[in-house]
């Protein structure tokens, strides 16, 4: 598993969000590559069973540090970043309010960056972002969405607090790069799936009205299996010569929404209704207009921008991942789906 690396196993690597869905897989990936000088940042209220289970698999991991704290505290960030060479930053705000999402994504990142530059031995900051930062509002349906596509300029109109937080987080990282010489890599994973995450992505459909409405139709899903995604993140932390690069993370094989849903239903069938995109687009337009006219009496949860981003459909590419990081998905989609679906059995 050895790759050319900007750090040696003696250098300290910090993983934030290390107890999360992707974070635990990233931790395992680093351990498997022989990196044991790790610091896992967790929140004090987190239940650490998953993380402990992974550490238990690696006898040499007994010196892995677990630091409990909150990235909203500058003091905790200092403890986390001290002497660290690389940060793999996965913690993020999933709060439904804009302020809440901004706090745990952008503000937390600002605190971490300051501490990293002050007390770390900074070589690279790996910022895990998301497809939520893109806007395909002005793109043709099914056009290629790659790293050069426009970013969302109106997250408020899209009613996407999470996307707003991630956009601001990315902006901060780029600003710290330009103004304070921070070396960074940004990864934007698509639809990450795997054991430990049982909800279907909103790109496939929604449950808002008490039954499942399938909205993805024949759209290609920007899917990436959690271990493959974690592998890309770890490579981005190690690989020389990729500072300042942005990578979309999707697997090689990508199913349509319909195929993904059918596979999910094979484990346990449930009722769903398919709504064709033109109808959904019409409905979202009506909802948005009503919401505006009535000053938010109905919150703008359905709107044109969201509709395009989630259900308009795009095609995707991972060419840059392959080329610059030398990444290729270790787990093939058939096997990945088996692992994913096993959690429902």
């Amino acid at each position: 598993m050895s790759v050319e690396s900007i750090v040696t196993p003696a250098d300290k690597i910090l993983i934030t969000g290390s107890n999360g869905f992707i974070g635990t897989r990233a931790l395992e990936n680093l351990l498997a590559r022989g990196f044991f000088n790790l610091r896992c940042f967790v929140r004090p209220s987190s239940k650490l069973e998953k993380l402990q289970k992974i550490l238990a698999q690696f006898p040499a991991a007994k010196n892995v540090e677990i630091v409990a704290g909150d990235l909203l505290s500058r003091e905790d960030c200092r403890r986390a970043a001290k002497d660290v060479a690389v940060i793999v930053h996965l913690a993020a705000g999933f709060d439904k309010s804009f302020a809440g999402a901004f706090m745990n994504s952008a503000l937390a990142t600002r605190n971490l960056l300051d501490a990293f530059l002050e007390l770390g031995k900074p070589r690279r900051f790996v910022n895990v972002s998301s497809f939520a930062v893109y806007s395909n509002f002005k793109m043709e349906r099914h056009a290629l969405l790659d790293e050069n596509c426009p970013l969302e300029t109106e997250p408020q109109a899209r009613n996407d607090a999470y996307g707003f937080g991630k956009l601001k987080q990315e902006q901060l990282v780029r600003d710290y790069g330009a103004q304070r010489g921070l070396k960074w890599v940004i990864l934007r994973p698509g639809m990450v799936y795997g054991p430990g995450k049982s909800d279907l992505s909103g790109r496939i459909g929604i449950n808002t009205f008490g039954f499942f409405i399938h909205l993805g139709g024949r759209n290609e899903m920007p899917m990436t299996f959690v271990d493959n995604c974690a592998d890309a993140i770890v490579l981005a932390a190690l690989k020389p010569g990729v500072d300042g690069e942005i990578f979309n993370v999707v697997d090689d094989e990508r199913w349509t929404s319909k195929e993904f849903l059918a596979a999910r239903k094979e484990t346990k069938n449930f009722f769903s209704v398919w709504l064709p995109y033109p109808l959904m687009k019409f409905g979202c337009g009506l909802w948005e207009n009503f919401s505006k006219k009535r000053h938010g009496q109905l919150p703008p949860v359905f709107n044109r921008r969201r509709c395009a981003a989630e259900w308009g459909g795009n095609t995707f590419s991972n060419e840059k991942l392959h080329k610059l990081l030398g990444w290729s998905p270790k787990i093939k989609t058939v096997d990945a789906m088996k692992l994913f679906l096993a959690q429902y059995k």
Binding site: R43, P44, S45, D70, F94, G100, A106, H295, Q297
Partner: protein, 362 residues
């Protein structure tokens, strides 16, 4: 006169204030302020507000707003409200109004001395069903003074985004409040009792920690509270705060010597309970039918209010802010009498003194 508004504290609740103010008209949010300037910037950017500050005093000096909404964590309420009043601004202070009743009293005295107005963020007192309840009480529906009141308030622990950070850190601001979790969550349910009680209130409170909270790693944080109250006129009241009762109860009952009212805040319903007796088996048939008719009436009223644009998820806040602004323009009494604000704070002080866990007494 177009009121110039400022907001101090740009966290989650600030969005609601901005949106409510936008719906009111004849007012403009001119500045926002947060000690963490990035927070002020994100709010200002989303709502296109020009003034962005990290320091409240600087903002007050530069903008002299007519009204300041203070939406910071409670420990900042008293000093910030005092600062705003001293700079000549009227103040809308989020709940809990202050940390102690003494602070509440001091603010009220200062506002009166400066001929400025203050209000507390008891917005649930101003939802459509609460307004209708108040109208009925004022019209004599109860048949005399209230005999008994009941206020239930529920909080759901299943969404960890609120409670996890609180449990995760002993230094979290909620843990610094004398009443901890309750302190941040019982203002609304206490305020509606204070409205109908006189100042001579006796309080008897009990609290404990639920098993669920214990399993979440709750340490000393209690989450179940029951309080009995009685005022000088003999009106009694019961307050129940619970994280465990499911489905969560959010209601207010006011019983008179003749008739009673029940406000179900969760469904925006008002149920009128009129005295009356029925012969023989009719007592089993007619009252349920009458109750069914009332539920149907509530559904109809809510649908009509929704279609007319009156029923809004934030109706209470908009109504309270609107009434507050009117009182400022017309130099009338503010929408929530100061007596009620101070009594709410006094009852809360007394509850927290009685339930203080052993280990935090030191």
């Amino acid at each position: 006169m177009k009121l110039r508004i400022a907001i101090i504290g740009c966290g989650k609740i600030a969005d609601q204030h901005v949106q409510a103010a936008h719906r009111i008209g004849n007012c403009e949010i001119v500045a926002v302020c947060d000690r963490e300037k990035l927070m002020a910037e994100q709010l200002a950017e989303r709502f296109k507000i020009s003034g962005v500050f990290g320091d409240a005093e600087e903002m007050l000096k530069q903008f002299s707003p007519d009204v300041v909404h203070i939406t910071t964590p409670p420990l900042g309420h008293f000093p910030l409200a005092k600062l705003c009043l001293e700079h000549g601004s009227n103040v809308y202070l989020e709940k809990p109004f202050t940390v102690t009743a003494a602070e509440a009293q001091e603010l009220v005295a200062l506002a009166e001395q400066k001929n400025l107005r203050l209000t507390a963020g008891h917005n649930y007192q101003f939802t459509l069903e609460m307004l209708e309840m108040r109208r009925l009480v004022a019209s004599g529906f109860l048949g005399g003074a209230a005999v008994h009141l009941e206020s239930h308030w529920a909080y759901d622990l299943s969404d960890p985004t609120y409670v996890s950070p609180i449990l995760g850190s002993k230094t979290h601001w909620v843990r610094q409040l004398p009443g901890q979790l309750f302190h941040n969550l019982i203002s609304h349910s206490t305020a509606r009792l204070a409205e109908f009680l006189d100042d001579d209130v006796m309080v008897s409170a009990q609290a404990h920690q639920s098993v669920r909270m214990k399993n979440l790693g709750g340490q000393e944080v209690q989450d179940e509270l029951r309080v009995l109250l009685r005022d000088g006129k003999g009106t009694t009241a019961f307050l129940c705060f619970s994280t465990q009762i499911k489905p969560g109860l959010n209601s207010f009952r006011i019983c008179g010597p003749k008739n009673s009212l029940l406000v179900e805040n969760g469904s925006g319903s008002l149920l009128l309970n009129r005295a009356g007796s029925h012969k023989s088996y009719l007592t089993y048939f007619l009252p349920p039918l009458k109750a069914a008719r009332q539920h149907l009436r509530n559904a109809r009223v809510n649908i009509v209010d929704f279609l007319r644009g009156r029923l809004h998820q934030d109706s209470g806040m908009k109504e309270l802010i609107e009434q507050f602004y009117v009182s400022i323009r017309q130099k009338n009494a503010p929408p929530i009498p100061y007596r009620e604000i101070v009594l709410t704070a006094r009852i809360m002080d007394e509850i927290f003194a009685q339930i203080k866990p052993e280990d935090s007494a030191t």
